[in-house]
């Protein structure tokens, strides 16, 4: 029974992490209908920035996390302004080719600079080990992830629902043409959101080094997970991807624990079934426009 709760807890932590990693992609796919397979590369960039700062420059872990966010957001902003924006109106094939090209480049570049072995980030002593909570073992690191990601999710939801920027963004998601007709600078909104999403991915990459593992093949290994979160969750709201990533996290952890031999088989099957059943995602209205 306790293992059930521990698994559930790990699954929730994993799912929250996936959400932070993938929610930027939800905007890219949902707002501009841009198939960005290179989203994981931004996460990897954040992870490696954090790793270098902590392991080589001796920064404290919590000081390096914001920098992972900022550096990934910067890379995202530069790439968006220089490359991505030329491709918004191209067909999906071009977008896929372009982002696959970026993934290949990032994998080889990181392999060249940092080596191909897995990188570990030294985490503070306070985060190691488990807390015993009514007999349920709770990892401190995972608890921290849930807290950070939970706060992030709540504030994202607040920003989207309550602020002026949030309403602009939602308007642009619903109908870019009408939104720009109302005087909303859609490209600017998108550039900002893209950079912010990349930053979140970078933060997620830094946090996930401990759980998912960080190596040059990160963007390829987890590409399918990010895509699952977005396509299954739909991109019409933030709740869809959030629930989808929780489902995915819990399902994946439970699947690996209870039916280890089937491995990722369960996840892929569920994804295909859901996509066949509801091509626009479980919670989406207009995900696949």
């Amino acid at each position: 029974m306790t293992s059930l709760f521990t698994n559930l807890f790990d699954g929730v932590a994993y799912g929250m992490l996936l959400f932070v990693l993938a929610c930027g992609l939800a905007v890219t796919l949902g707002l501009m209908n841009f198939v960005n397979l290179a989203h994981g590369a931004f996460a990897m960039a954040g992870g490696y920035v954090c790793a270098v700062l902590v392991n080589q420059s001796g920064w404290p872990f919590f000081a390096a996390l914001p920098l992972a966010f900022v550096s990934s957001a910067l890379i995202g902003a530069v790439l968006e302004r220089s490359l991505y924006r030329h491709l918004y109106h191209r067909n999906h094939l071009d977008q896929v080719l372009f982002s696959v090209g970026l993934v290949f480049m990032s994998v080889a570049a990181v392999d060249y600079i940092m080596g191909s072995s897995r990188v570990f980030i030294r985490i503070p002593q306070a985060l190691e080990g488990q807390i015993d909570f009514f007999g349920v073992g709770i990892g401190r690191y995972r608890l921290m992830i849930i807290v950070i990601c939970g706060l992030l999710t709540a504030s994202l939801q607040l920003v989207l629902a309550r602020t002026r920027f949030g309403s602009r963004l939602r308007a642009a998601v619903d109908d870019p043409r009408a939104a720009s007709g109302l005087g909303i600078n859609v490209p600017q909104v998108f550039a900002f959101t893209f950079a912010f999403g990349c930053g979140l991915a970078g933060l997620g990459g830094a946090l996930s080094a401990e759980i998912l593992g960080l190596d040059p093949y990160f963007p390829l290994k987890f590409m399918i997970y990010f895509l699952i979160v977005v396509t299954v969750g739909g991109s019409s709201s933030i709740t869809g991807p959030f629930l989808a990533s929780l489902l995915l996290g819990i399902g994946d952890v439970a699947g690996k624990y209870y039916v280890p031999k089937l491995g990722p088989f369960v996840i892929y099957t569920i994804m295909i079934v859901i996509l066949i059943w509801r091509p626009n995602g479980l919670f989406g209205r207009t995900a696949a426009r």
Binding site: L29, H86, L97, V100, G101, G263, I276, A288
Partner: protein
């Protein structure tokens, strides 16, 4: 001339063999005798060309973007490997057809999943199917050999006459013959009324449906056929390398394949063949410069191709040959711009 007769006339004109096509195949055959020490890489190119031809059928003619075409390649590869390993069908040519048929069956079943949904859903479903098969192959390692792959495959002589030699000469001619035969079939198909209807679907599915083309049925048919081709390509891979491992299903294989097709251009059948040659050459060059990091340069090529624009790139490449032809024979451009790319 009525409009209908006009369309028929042009379709027939397109379907006629052009002298440049004959030159292309003569050149391919000539390569076999010109570079006797390079059979292995040339076999590789031929296999890749067949695989790319298969993707061209669904992407260039059906308009389906697939990220998991390696699924059929892998199924063909493992089927051929298992057939040879257990001696079920020892004769390679029959085993080849059998592997193609198995892949074809899978293609038929999965095509119902693929025709549902828009581009993004298709991407995810095709990618998911390939990953699923990879996971399955890893899971059932007692059949597939798991991460070690199928080992100890011994190939019998083709039709009981030609034994595979260590220099790959027989393997090359075998692959080239298969490629040519399947190319002829594909050429016949895309120039048939069926092929024309596919082009109509690619250009505008809604309008195609409105003039009475059964869109879904046609897409299922071409997807199934493409799966057959990919299965044959996979089986050729196993038969000529005597190896089948998990990486036949890998995402990189599907992604590389897209690059091959994009280099050559989609929608005129030769794209995959030309692309395969160029891609393999590029890979050779890159891996001599930076043995470990050639993937970076492949990625750069992809990004540049997309940013410059596929149409523009093909116009640049074809500019010189077209100029020469125009000067020499006073005709309009004879080297065709791929139809999908024509302005």
């Amino acid at each position: 001339m009525t409009a209908q007769a006009d369309v028929g006339y042009h379709a027939r004109q397109h379907a006629r063999w052009h002298w440049s096509e004959i030159a292309f195949w003569s050149l391919a055959l000539a390569c076999a005798f010109l570079f006797p020490s390079r059979y292995l890489i040339m076999t590789d190119i031929v296999r890749l060309a067949l695989f790319a031809l298969s993707l061209d059928l669904i992407l260039g003619y059906g308009g389906i973007v697939s990220l998991g075409h390696a699924a059929f390649f892998g199924v063909g590869a493992y089927t051929a490997g298992l057939l040879a390993l257990h001696g079920v069908i020892a004769e390679p040519a029959f085993a080849l057809v059998a592997s193609g048929l198995v892949a074809m069956a899978l293609g038929f079943v999965t095509s119902f999943l693929v025709i549902r949904g828009a581009d993004l859903t298709r991407l995810m479903v095709t990618l998911g199917i390939a990953l699923l098969l990879e996971a399955l192959a890893e899971r059932f390692s007692d059949i597939t050999g798991g991460t070690d792959g199928l080992q100890g495959i011994e190939m019998q002589p083709i039709l009981g006459l030609f034994a595979f030699d260590m220099f790959g000469k027989v393997g090359f001619f075998y692959c080239l013959a298969i490629l040519f035969a399947l190319f002829l079939l594909a050429r016949r198909i895309v120039h048939s009324p069926f092929g024309l209807s596919l082009r109509a679907i690619r250009n505008n599915p809604l309008r195609a449906a409105a003039i009475g083309i059964p869109v879904n049925k046609r897409l299922i048919a071409i997807y199934t056929l493409a799966a057959f081709y990919a299965g044959i390509a996979g089986a050729l891979f196993t038969q000529s390398t005597q190896l089948a491992s998990l990486d036949v299903f890998s995402f990189e294989r599907s992604a590389d394949l897209m690059l091959v097709l994009v280099i050559g251009g989609t929608g005129y059948l030769y794209g995959g063949l030309i692309g395969a040659v160029v891609f393999r050459m590029l890979q050779e060059v890159f891996s001599t410069i930076t043995p470990q990091y050639w993937q970076f340069w492949i990625g750069l090529v992809l990004v540049v191709i997309v940013l410059v624009g596929r149409q523009r790139l093909h116009r640049w490449v074809l500019w010189a040959p077209n100029l020469v032809i125009r000067q020499l024979s006073g005709r309009k451009a004879a080297v065709v711009v791929p139809e999908s790319d024509a302005p």
